[in-house]
Every structure is written in C-alpha cells, then in structure tokens.
C-alpha cells in the first residue's frame, strides 16, 4: 500500500528569518508501508502531533557554528519533538500501537533506526498510559513532559520563589511562559507578564488572572516595568534575552534571580555584530543578582515525581490552564512555525498530522 508521506525539507541555511520555499518547504513523497522493511531494533512511526518550538531555528545554522544542539543537515527532513503511533517495530521495547514521544521527522511517517543520533538525542518515551487518561494526548507529550518540566523546574528549582515576591515573565502567553505565570500565582507571588499583542494581554489578565500585564510592543519597557512592578523584580523568568533582559536588570531588587531557559530574540541573528549587547550586566554585582541558565534535557534522568503529581493535580482541579494553539495538517507546518516565531500563537504551538 503506497500512501502519501509528505515531509518538510530543509533546503538552505537562512541568514535571518527563514522563508518558505527558499529555506524549507513541504515536499510530496510516498511510502510503501506494507512492504517497508525494518532492520533490527527499528521503528516505523505514524506521526500524530509535531511540536513547534523556538529553539528549532537554532538548528537551521551553518554546521561549523558550535551550539548546545546539533545543526540540521541541508537536504534532509527537519526534526522536532513529536507524538507518534508505532505502526511497525522490530524493537523489543516498542510494539505496534504504542504511543511514543520524542524527536521525530516533520513528516507523516518516520523511520527510526537504532543509534540514529538525530532521532534519539532526547530518548523516546512510551505514552501508552495516555490512552487511559482523561487528559488529551498533547498534555502528556508537552505539558506533562518537556514544557511543563521546563516551567516547573526553572521556577521552583532555580527561581526559589517566596510568597509575596514579584516575578516578571516575558513571553507570558507562550508555551512555557503561561505555565510559569500560573505556577507563580499558585506559589503566592505577584505575577507580571509581557506579551506581543493586546489579545495575549487580555488572556493573561482575564483568563490566567495574573496581577499585571502589558503589550511590550506598545510601551516604553522601562516605564512599564516601573508601573507594573512597583516593588521591583525578585524573579525574572527570561525566555527572550536582548533589550528586555537589559532593562529588567535595572528594575531588579537585591538578590534577584534571573532564570534563563532560552533567548528567542537572538536566534535569528547569525551575525555576531548584530546581536544585542547587554550593558547593565554590572547590576549583577551591584545587586547580588544570580543569573541561572539551564537546559531541560539535563532533567530527564532525575526523579520528576513531584512535578508530575503537582501538575496533574493543578490541571484536574482547574488551578492551571494549559493553552494550546494547534494547526491542522502537515502542509501548514512551515507557516505555523513562522507564525509561532512572529508570536501569533497563544500558548503551546503544535501541528496535528493525523487523528488518532
């Protein structure tokens, strides 16, 4: 049975924002599932959801540039976090019908080989318990896994939040930010968020009910921080870097913690000279500030039971809302990725490829 296996091809390395057709695009391909032969310990996956995340831009770079994550190879299908069903397997750990999460191709069907560095960098997780759960499948692969853990560990382990303190969250309506903002509220903090549209500000104030929010595109950042954080900033959860980080340093209180899980504002800048230079870094010693960077992949192998327990309880009791922004259809992946980069998503961006 030969069926469609469209995939998003990485065509060329962009210097600024990627352009559809020039740097990446969906190409028509087919796959003969019936006659598809697997080697030893291999899988054929049918991809259900593809997760769209800002760090993917970091992989669309020249291979000689070092970074924390390997570059993509031109001419190959792009790769990201995904949720899939196993449709063929010669691997003893996975069986036909299993639901798995992990790196997969931006395509309809993905062939996973053992020791495939590209596909196994973060391991693969069996989500069969998701079938019997009241939570949607996406919650298991994102909220209860990578994004939830990024928010939870960053705030709880590194932010060291104390009741009554002020936290400022940039991209507060984004995949990680809207979780951080809510966990901070649960922990009794005064929560201030920024976002890039009035619709998102409305979501932060009226749906998430955080204490203050502003559209950073419409205000003077300094004045907005003075107005909305009248007692200064004790924790800054940074997902953007650049100018906002520079201004926040001036509004930090003594012993403030700046938790950094990404710097989306700088990912599309490949020319070192064009990068934003942080000038207020001297506040770090003047105010005894602690800046803590982390990669959530370092947390896979430790015990995350408390995280899972807290998250499921908050979700079931309605204390925490998980907002998803789901695009339908593989043909729409490139545009959905650009839209996420342009900040058009509200909450976690993902693309649904098939109905389960």
């Amino acid at each position: 049975m030969v069926v469609s296996n469209k995939g998003v091809l990485f065509k060329a390395i962009p210097t600024g924002h990627p352009v559809i057709g020039e740097h990446f695009e969906v190409v028509d391909r087919t796959i003969d599932i019936e006659n598809f032969k697997l080697g030893e310990n291999e899988l054929l996956l049918k991809n259900v959801y593809i997760s769209l995340d800002p760090y993917i831009r970091e992989r669309m770079r020249e291979p000689h540039i070092e970074s924390y994550i390997p570059p993509f190879h031109v001419g190959k299908v792009m790769v990201g976090d995904g949720t899939s069903v196993v449709i063929k397997s010669t691997h003893p750990q996975y069986h036909e019908g299993d639901i798995v999460a992990g790196f997969t191709g931006w395509e309809e069907y993905t062939h996973i080989k053992e020791n495939d560095e590209e596909m196994n960098a973060t391991g693969r997780f069996c989500l069969n318990h998701a079938k019997d759960s009241n939570f949607p499948l996406t919650h298991h692969s994102h909220l209860l896994r990578i994004h939830g853990l990024t928010a939870y560990r960053g705030l709880v382990n590194f932010g060291n939040p104390k009741k009554g303190e002020t936290i400022f969250v940039s991209t507060a309506a984004g995949a990680i930010g809207h979780l951080v903002a809510q966990i901070a509220k649960i922990k009794g903090l005064y929560v201030v968020g920024s976002a890039g549209s009035d619709e998102k500000v409305d979501f932060l104030l009226n749906t998430l009910k955080i204490d203050a929010a502003f559209n950073y595109k419409k205000v003077d950042i300094d004045k907005a921080l003075s107005k909305h954080c009248p007692d200064g900033i004790d924790i800054y959860f940074d997902n953007v870097g650049g100018e906002i980080l520079d201004r926040v340093l001036l509004h930090c209180n003594r012993f403030a913690r700046i938790v950094v899980c990404g710097m989306i504002s700088q990912y599309n800048i490949r020319n070192q000279k064009e990068k934003y230079g942080i000038k207020n870094i001297d506040q770090v010693f003047a105010k005894s500030i602690n800046i803590i960077g982390y990669l959530i992949s370092d947390f896979w192998t430790i015990n995350n039971d408390t995280f899972s327990k807290d998250m499921e309880e908050w979700l079931e009791s309605g204390k925490l809302i998980y907002k998803e922004d789901i695009t339908i259809g593989i043909d729409n992946i490139p545009q959905a990725f650009l839209d996420m980069y342009a900040g058009k998503n509200l909450g976690k961006s993902a693309v649904k490829i098939f109905d389960l």
Copy 2:
C-alpha cells in the same frame, strides 16, 4: 597643639578618568588636637593606612545616579577603608590607643560622629589583637578582613570549586585576584590568570606558581583562552566585566560558574551608550552557566570563623602569599589611586600615612 591635617578633597565629578587638581587633590589643613572637642559617642582617629580600591571611582558620580553605594559629596574629603588609632574617644566601645578598621577620611586625622552614615556604612572593627600578632597591621585590616573575605567567600561559597577544574581569574595580580588564584591552587584547581603587564605575569607564574598566565594587553583574548584553558573554563572569577567577560562566556564549559565581585573596566564610563555590551549572554542557557554577583558587605554579620582559621593557617604555613603595594605619605594618595586604576600596582594598594 595645632598640627597638619592634610586631606584629599573631592572637587568635581569626573566624566572619565579623574584628574588630580581638577576632580580631587590634597589640600593643606590643620587641626588643634589638644583642644579638639568631641560630642557624645564620638572619636578622633589618627589614620595609619588608607586602602585604595577600584569601587571608590563608583562613588565619584552625579548624586542622582543610583548605585549600590552612595555618591561622594563635592567639597568634602574623600572616604575609604582605613586602619587608624583612636586618639580621643567619648564612645564607650572605643578607647584611646585602640586600633580600628572601617571607613575613614582620606586625611591625617578623622573626626567620627555617631550615626555618621558616610563613616559607619560598614561598621568599625577593633583590631587590638593585631598588636600581639605576628602578622603586620595591614594583614588584619585587608587580608584577614575585606579582601581576604571577598576572595574566600566568592570562590568557596559561590564558585563551588572541585579538584581538577579549571579556573580563570582576571586581574589575577590584583588585591582580590592574587588571593583567589592561590586559594584555588590550594583547593586543587588548574589556575589560569590574566594581568596587564609582563611583570605581573612573571609574578603569577614564578612567585604564586599558578598554572598559566598571560598579559591581556598583548594577546588576542580568544586565542589566549583557547591556549591556556585547553579543557575550557569551569569557574571564572570576574573583577573586570566588559570584553573579557564576553569572550570568557564562549570558553565556558557546561555548568560553569561566573563569580562577579566587581567590574572595574566599566567604572569610569558614565555614558550608558559607551558601556560595553555583552553579546554572548546567550551562552548562559546554552551551557547552563550560573552568574553570581555578590557584595562582601553582606557577609559581615555571618560567622566567618572558617575563613579566619583557613587564612591564618595558609599564611603562617607559607601556602598563601599576601602581596601589598604600599605608597608612603598622604601627599601621594591621588597619584597612587590613579596608578592603581591604571593597573600599576602589584597586589593590594594602600597608602601609609603614619608609622604606628
């Protein structure tokens, strides 16, 4: 008895490097010690040593600019850390002949009033035990107090050093740096230092016997760090900020700690636009780096017994060398201050005003 009481007057706020005669200078004054009347709880001090420290430049600023330490007032005598003898006292805690350390005027005799914010900001310490000690007086006021504690606490508490790791220390021949470098050697680290002259590099390699050192004025910083830190940097003890910090970020290993006790390269820059912008700050999350700023004044009130015990033992056993760069005579304070800022000192800068 009327005697000379020369003092260094703060005449005008400098915009760049201070100029003698224009921004500060020694002025001839006198004091009638015999007839000097003290109010309640007051002291008259004869200053023995004046400590010269980079942060003093930060106080020579416009009063409206906020900082971690108050600005100096134009027309008044400058103030710094000093060691003095009490020659008159109405304060129950201090008696004639006591040796005290704390903020004092850059002058021969200083009148200390109770609740004098300027003079009591860091409290005053009685150093009478120094009389019976084998260590010189300056060791008690600097090595065994502010500078030793800055080096020790920064490295041990925040650097979290592990045997075999690589530490890079900028201003490694300076007051704090040469202590950090030696404590790091004692802790079993691979120690690399930078300094601003060949003489200092020689001191680091042949007197302190650290593992590698270079003159940052003569090399390409990137190449020097690649060459001298072949296994990358695990701890950076930062006293300078600016370009070196920016380059170090690229040479850091995963989970590196950057301990910041000052940023001397930026103190003479008052125009925000001229400040150095750190462009590699994104390494913080890419490498899970922790940047920790601190002010040693926060450590006065905690138990520092371990520090005192370690330091005295290392000093007595010859494991640690305390290098001082002492200028003689109050008339030479302004030039000695500029020399320290120009990096002409080797070790801790101080001016001896009187023989004890």
